[in-house]
Symmetry: C2
DNA sequence: TACATTGTGATTGTATACATAATACCACTG
DNA sequence: CAGTGGTATTATGTATACAATCACAATGTA
């Protein structure tokens, strides 16, 4: 993924950006956490300048919220927020499979089948992390097949906010049978270049994700309310 | 639009960001132009720090290209590039009208009709800038009606790269009759909450834009080739 | 006790200083 | 004359310094 060939030099801002992004997505930096420049700088061993630039980037991606002269904090994930993202992703995921139907190469189809098989194998391990990884790679094959760079980067940034919910979503899917079935359906449709069926399958696929994620958020909220009412632990 | 109520303080980086963005979109800073920090700082009367942060933001929006240790330049607009953006925008514009069909309020419908009438009035002036402005406002009404914040900001950033071509596109449209007709069709469909027709109309609307913009880019390229062959003027 | 006020510490905004890499220019050599 | 090497200049990367503002607490007063 990185353009290491010509230049393996990575500015600190990018390194910081990646680290912060990772920390936010894994929940190590929880929503609402303040991002203080000197503090982060100490922790990462760099000055404020790269930290600030990284924060600017995260801000535009929607992962952190800024209030001028107050500071930055990890963005709150609200149901509305996530719902908005999923709505957009639904449209773009459908666009992805439609374009893939038109443009996928024979090699792409072969990759896609490999990714599908790898996913089914991953499911058998019953390990959520392994399955999630295989799922990401499956989708990446489709996304790359569109050949649309803008779409690729948008899909990337729109899938970020839901990484936190991915494991649970995968556990949710009763026996993972649904996931396997949906993937197969998508692969078949793309192979036959049937955009209509592919779109339908992709739509259902993300609708299922949506349901699971929204349910999780509601449960989190409920838990928070409980804590607020009956006292929260440190 | 600005949240001026609580805080009318605008960090320099945002002010710089707006200025640079404007300069790029109007073509004052042509594609390929190098963005040198000290130079821009002198011109705008600020230090490098706000300039750098503004550049980071523009970079994520795709308006400038960065090469580490080399510098930033105004992003080249290629046909592929623009084509990618338009492909995504097509899907999102359609999503916009579909959501608007579901969610628009009576006030929204009233605003929409006002915007449509204002547009038709603008067309009569025959002034491209006036028409373009009315066109933007018409679309903004629809986009706002979706209530999807993420979609709103995406539409915003995806329409940026084509601002340069907007005037020509409007001149292109034979007598503007098409534009008026398309707008009317969209308004009628949204009012009747007929998502299918609305989607179709929105799709055609952007397909027309696409044709005009692609044609313009090809003409520009041709001109450049000529200049390269027969010598370019200063 | 309630509330206003002021002062102090902490944090961001902005500017500048220093280090390092890239580029351009020029002289020198073959 | 072409090509190479070295140096000077320029621009970016990073760190630090200074200024402005905000949060909060301590203090004093009604």
């Amino acid at each position: 993924m990185p353009k290491a060939k010509e230049e393996d030099f990575l500015p600190l801002r990018d390194s910081v950006y990646n680290k912060l992004r990772q920390s936010i997505l894994t929940g190590e930096l929880p929503a609402g956490e303040r991002l203080m420049e000197v503090h982060l700088g100490d922790k990462l061993g760099v000055s404020r300048t790269p930290i600030r630039e990284a924060i600017r980037m995260l801000e535009l991606e929607g992962l952190v919220t800024m209030i001028p002269r107050k500071g930055a904090m990890v963005a709150q994930i609200t149901e509305k927020n996530m719902s908005d993202v999923l709505e957009v992703r639904r449209a773009l995921d459908i666009l992805c499979v439609q374009l893939a139907c038109e443009r996928i190469t024979p090699e792409g189809i072969s990759d896609l089948k490999k990714a599908r098989d790898a996913f089914e194998k991953a499911v058998e391990t019953n390990d959520s992390r392994v399955i999630a990884q295989a799922d990401v790679e499956f989708h990446n094959v489709i996304i790359s097949a569109t050949g649309n760079d803008r779409l690729i980067s948008l899909e990337d940034s729109l899938s970020l906010p839901m990484y936190r919910y991915r494991y649970e979503y995968i556990k949710d899917s009763s026996g993972h049978d649904n996931l396997v079935k949906e993937h197969r359906r998508i692969v078949n449709a793309i192979e036959k270049r049937n955009a209509e069926i592919a779109a339908e399958a992709a739509g259902e696929h993300i609708d299922n994700q949506r349901r699971s994620i929204i349910r999780q958020i509601r449960m989190e909220r409920e838990e928070e309310t409980m804590n607020a009412l009956y006292g929260k632990r440190k």
